[in-house]
Symmetry: C2
Amino acid sequence: MDWVDPAVCSLDYRLRIIGRLPFFKHLSADVIAQINDLFYDFDAAAGERIYFEGDEAEYFYLVAMGKVRLSCEAGQGREALLDILRNGEYFGSFATFGGRGYTEDAVAHTDCCILRISTADFERILAEHPDVTRKVLDTVSQRLAKSQEIVVQLSAFSVERRIASVLLRLASKLGEARGAGVLIQLPFSRQDLAAMTGSTPETVSRVMSRFAEEGLIESGRKWVTIANPEKLERLADQGAVN
Amino acid sequence: MDWVDPAVCSLDYRLRIIGRLPFFKHLSADVIAQINDLFYDFDAAAGERIYFEGDEAEYFYLVAMGKVRLSCEAGQGREALLDILRNGEYFGSFATFGGRGYTEDAVAHTDCCILRISTADFERILAEHPDVTRKVLDTVSQRLAKSQEIVVQLSAFSVERRIASVLLRLASKLGEARGAGVLIQLPFSRQDLAAMTGSTPETVSRVMSRFAEEGLIESGRKWVTIANPEKLERLADQGAVN
DNA sequence: CGACTTTTTGAGTCTAGTCAAAACATGTGG
DNA sequence: CCACATGTTTTGACTAGACTCAAAAAGTCG
């Protein structure tokens, strides 16, 4: 595949990506190099499936380049979009650790370059480096905390508040400062935002138009800028701009 | 406090509860005994607060006797009920591992006897026993998987399906076989069920009356029997009994 | 410039929430 | 043991927020 710059998955780049993982970054360069040897890289075109929910969890993955969607089929044509991972983030089911198959679908959201390590090799690393296990535990715990936060929002917030929260979450994760505001520039359709908030594209569009009228955001086809983060934050936290 | 049978937190009972934890049960009796020395027990009357969301996470807890509610304040008088733990279950923030404070409120749901270990001591155990760390990772991963499942349900299921799912979840966790069905016998108000499903007591009542009419369940003040688990399961999975 | 996709807008409907009252339990003290 | 006070559950009527379906508008790309 020639759409990925070959430099992207160069040894150097791989070492950098792997060495920056929160649970590896304390390791020495040569240990990182050993670990690197256990990773294989492959490309995935936008829309390509990496694995399905329920498949036996054979690999642990690492996004080297591009964006990966984690989602769940929810029946009746509905999909819940759990997260969109970028560059340097990892996936492939920590659920492995719980013993069962993958707990979500993973799909390349853009053209991607992905690193992968077998569950067995990863287990071996954990067994040899207790400190790594300890740090993996931290990151999984953090994900659990985030997931619970989303549970709370979905069970008690209005669509408006949920959309405000998602925009803020995306901004803090993927945003670039732009004057007073924050720009989120990504292939995010209204459809995607709907699947992240448990809503519909039409409702997302309406709510975002309202936000735009109130000067909270500006938005276009595949981008959003949060013009007034403070106000939006108040809306997300209290359900009113007051 | 005299409402708890003193035998309950006897040394013997403590050792049994601690020794049955998924991440300790492989340890030898004398290691368990050492660990036991690090736990302190205390009683909590129904309704008593164990900790608040955001408090600095100083302890890891273990339910010896009784039931503990984990919930989050969601603003505007709403509460999200994350889980009700029983006998042998643990809480007190794995979020510790992520570094921050408790991520939810913990309240005694019935009169309880609770064991507690300081975060520092628990960390010491993890440092000394890598195999324990590994197993804790498993259990946290499993919780993450469950939490994600709930996210999916909240974002894409109707109230009816959510209530069906919660009843089944409670049944598999707390139910006792009763003829063809399963009896859930607990101080669960409609209010609680509403807080677990992101709904309201009135709606829960209406939906459950409908379930009862259709012969799926029978229910009374503080109990529910699932008369027809298969049908209820179909409803939860596909959104229709058909 | 067209063909296509995504977004917006509009109208109508329905699910689930709100508010209020009645029915039902449960526990207490006379 | 009954009457009453309290709390929970059910029912009813009404409302509103969000969904559905449909069409128009606005970008995007070859």
